[in-house]
Amino acid sequence: MFEYTFQWRVVWKHWPQLLEAGLLTLQLTILSIIIGLVIASVLAVFRDSSNPFAKYLSVTWVALARNTPALLQIYMAYFGLGAFGIHLSPYTAVLGAVAFNNAGYLAEILRGGFSTVPASQKFAARGLGLTATQSYIYITLPQVLQAVFLPIVNQVIWAMLATSLGMIIGLQELTGMTTFLQSQTFRPFEFYFVAACMYLVIAKIATMLAQIVAAHMFKGGADK
């Protein structure tokens, strides 16, 4: 075994392309999370709405996003929407599908976050004379934020991993670019290894940043 000699120089030669693709992955991740969060907030509110249409929309969205593979969602955006005359670019299809998926998961995270703040906290705040709005801003929201922070960070990592599916429909994000370059150079192991390291580094940096932010923002720790 192992008559293979690793060749890393060829990877180095294509480093700028890899870096650029890595940035595209980062961009897709961040955008899909932002869009996902906005939609998720709406879905979370709709979930408890008295309007049956809003409620139904929210329930359906969350169920579809969570119970079908992300790859199927990307196929749907890229191939399926064609039936309605909608033809998305690979970039838009991946962004749309991952944001759709994020929204479903984030909506549940947000709902969970609100349910961790006991009603008695609001009573205590109102009992001190805070108005409903003040109680929401100073008491409820900070606690919700603390509860949802880590789950959201996990979702960010998940979104980053999901954007790699773009490769399958020809998007040259990090995985797609890697696939392209290795097919040109016949050095799959080296290229995928470097790409794997890049994902690892992005994920590590993201979690470390998150930990620093959390350590500064959430000093109270969980209520017992």
């Binding site: 192992f2 579809l64 593979p69 199927l72 749907m76 191939f79 399926g80 039936a83 995928y192 690892l200």
Partner: protein
């Protein structure tokens, strides 16, 4: 010339769903077993286990599954042991899910209060008796919903082994084969989505039932 969706196509999708289910069960069982060992080893006070297995978990959870597939495949090839993509797919899926199971198992074990464990040891139980009769039953029940979620995720992720060209095709790959022939992506994808949805629903339903039974037993015991 137009192609239509035939009974054979439907059977191909049913077969694909069966493969998806099979892959989930095989990788789920192996991955849960591995993950259990890793998760448990990380709760022992052994620093070597803690950090090395921590890195294992971290790496698995930070790299896209597709890359893990192709890396594993090409590594085996250059090591002189080329593998059938279906087999290497199962191996990669098992390793992949074990990283997530490990974290859930660790959380489950840590959720059992120290006083409970001390009480068990105080009754004269050994470490392993305490672990298997007290910690595992209590802790694993706590994280059972998370574990179910992981298995659902695994089922959806099996769709990725198609990238390696594994045969027989699982559900999504079967759907793609049909799409390529009859050029009706929307309908076929909706159909595939329905299959996934039903399978997820069935798993969620049974998991929920199982949990209810637990709860009833517990209430009956009180």
């Amino acid at each position: 010339m137009t192609y239509t969706f035939t009974t054979n196509d439907f059977l191909l999708m049913v077969q694909g769903a069966g493969i998806t289910f099979l892959l989930t069960i095989i990788a789920g069982v192996i991955g849960t077993f591995m993950g259990f060992l890793v998760g448990w080893a990380r709760t022992t006070k052994n620093a070597v286990f803690y950090y090395s297995l921590g890195a294992y978990v971290d790496i698995i959870r930070s790299i896209p599954l597709i890359i893990q597939f192709v890396l594993f495949n090409s590594f085996m090839a250059i090591a002189g042991y080329p593998m059938d993509p279906f087999i290497s797919g199962i191996i990669t899926l098992s390793i992949y899910i074990s990283g997530y199971v490990a974290e859930v198992v660790k959380a489950g074990i840590e959720s059992v209060p120290d006083v409970t464990r001390k009480a068990a040891r105080g009754l004269g139980m050994t470490y392993y008796q305490d672990f298997f009769y007290v910690v595992v039953p209590i802790g694993m029940r706590t994280v059972f919903p998370s574990w179910t979620g992981l298995m659902l995720g695994l089922m959806k992720d099996t769709s990725l082994i198609a990238v390696l060209g594994a045969t027989p095709p699982e559900l999504l790959r079967s759907s793609q084969i049909i799409i390529n022939r009859i050029q009706e992506p929307l309908m076929i994808l909706l159909g595939a989505g329905a299959f996934y949805f039903i399978m997820c629903y069935v798993i969620t339903h049974f998991a929920g039932r199982y949990e209810k039974i637990w709860q009833q037993k517990r209430q009956a015991a009180l």
